[in-house]
Symmetry: C2
Subunit: 204 residues, 2 copies
Amino acid sequence: MSTAEGRLTSDDRREQILAAATVVFGDRGYAGGTTDAIAKQAGISQAYVVRMFGSKENLFLEVSRRATGRLRDAFRGIIAGFTGEEGNLERQVLLGRAYGELVADRGTLLTLLHLFGLGQDPVFGPEARESFLDVYRIVRDEAGFSAEEATQFFARGMLNTILLALRMPDVKDDPRAFELLSSSMGEQCETILASFEAQASVAG
Amino acid sequence: MSTAEGRLTSDDRREQILAAATVVFGDRGYAGGTTDAIAKQAGISQAYVVRMFGSKENLFLEVSRRATGRLRDAFRGIIAGFTGEEGNLERQVLLGRAYGELVADRGTLLTLLHLFGLGQDPVFGPEARESFLDVYRIVRDEAGFSAEEATQFFARGMLNTILLALRMPDVKDDPRAFELLSSSMGEQCETILASFEAQASVAG
DNA sequence: AACAGTAGTAATCAATTGATTACTCATCAG
DNA sequence: CTGATGAGTAATCAATTGATTACTACTGTT
């Protein structure tokens, strides 16, 4: 999947590696994602991946921060567009849609989930907790949701995240699977699924 | 943490390895959990871990099946005790409590979450989807919940799972963290937290 | 006592992996 | 043209890891 480019500026290459790492870490998790696979995905040498970020740990940290940062930005962008006329239900829908668009990038979705599973880790654990809380604070304090509304919103979001991580839409001809997806994700399911189809998975 | 026992029957040792593997895989995920760490946790040689289960992949598969199997059994046990007099809200509380008790075993909780993150995997993906759907079918068909009730129940469950995986209760003196935990987990939080404190984590 | 079956390990291996080093090649200012 | 800076890599390393093999030792049976 490497589009055989020539020399890039350091910054461009950096972005490219971060994108590649998001895909690979998403696919195989932190421990399972090798710097070699990331290098191949980006079309450069493994040595350069390590060199640019110092270490694999550092790289995953940056990938995680990208993902959580995008989430914060997306929510703040939506909230900035609030007119003050919507009900909180409509606001939930708007924010939910923003989340859906973000995690239509499967790498981002999975990287977030893997990060949440690293709560034990001395480095990633605190990072994960702080990022999660940051987003909660945004929804609670900036979007003006009550604790109950915010909790419900997050609960639905986490279920959707896991259903997508599971590739539940791949289960065909199962009425219960369809029902669960419809009930939890509604019409967003098709949109996100379509974008998944178009996405590169890790080669080998 | 290995309680220096003598010879055990094959079956007893098997159980012990599965328990150790649940802790290790929970802590470090599938790729990150080494057969060596599992062996040390169980107090036996690495060779024997591999030998008893054929491969690490197989071992994780069995660990996953244990976890999802326990979940199914717990729910069915609760449902069998339904009198027919409860409202569905009370039933949600009863099932929620059962889930809480199950994932008070942190290894089980984390193993489930890691499994869900492996939806891409050709071996674990189908397993994960099928297990998840099984539980949904139980809640839907055997507990008699509507699609909406079941979805809400699962959403809350997934949020709780992630909050615990994140070790969110470790965040002290943060009103928003406390609020989120209270709102999502209610009084269960303390119970589960207490059991976490008592649990062995992976040594090194 | 001798045998058989089973629990368990030490030693070892090939493969993988993150990291380092020394280098090549391109680009561009003067 | 020249020299310097920065992009990028080949080669290599030490450590880790899952797996295999050949072996030891315990246990119960006849």
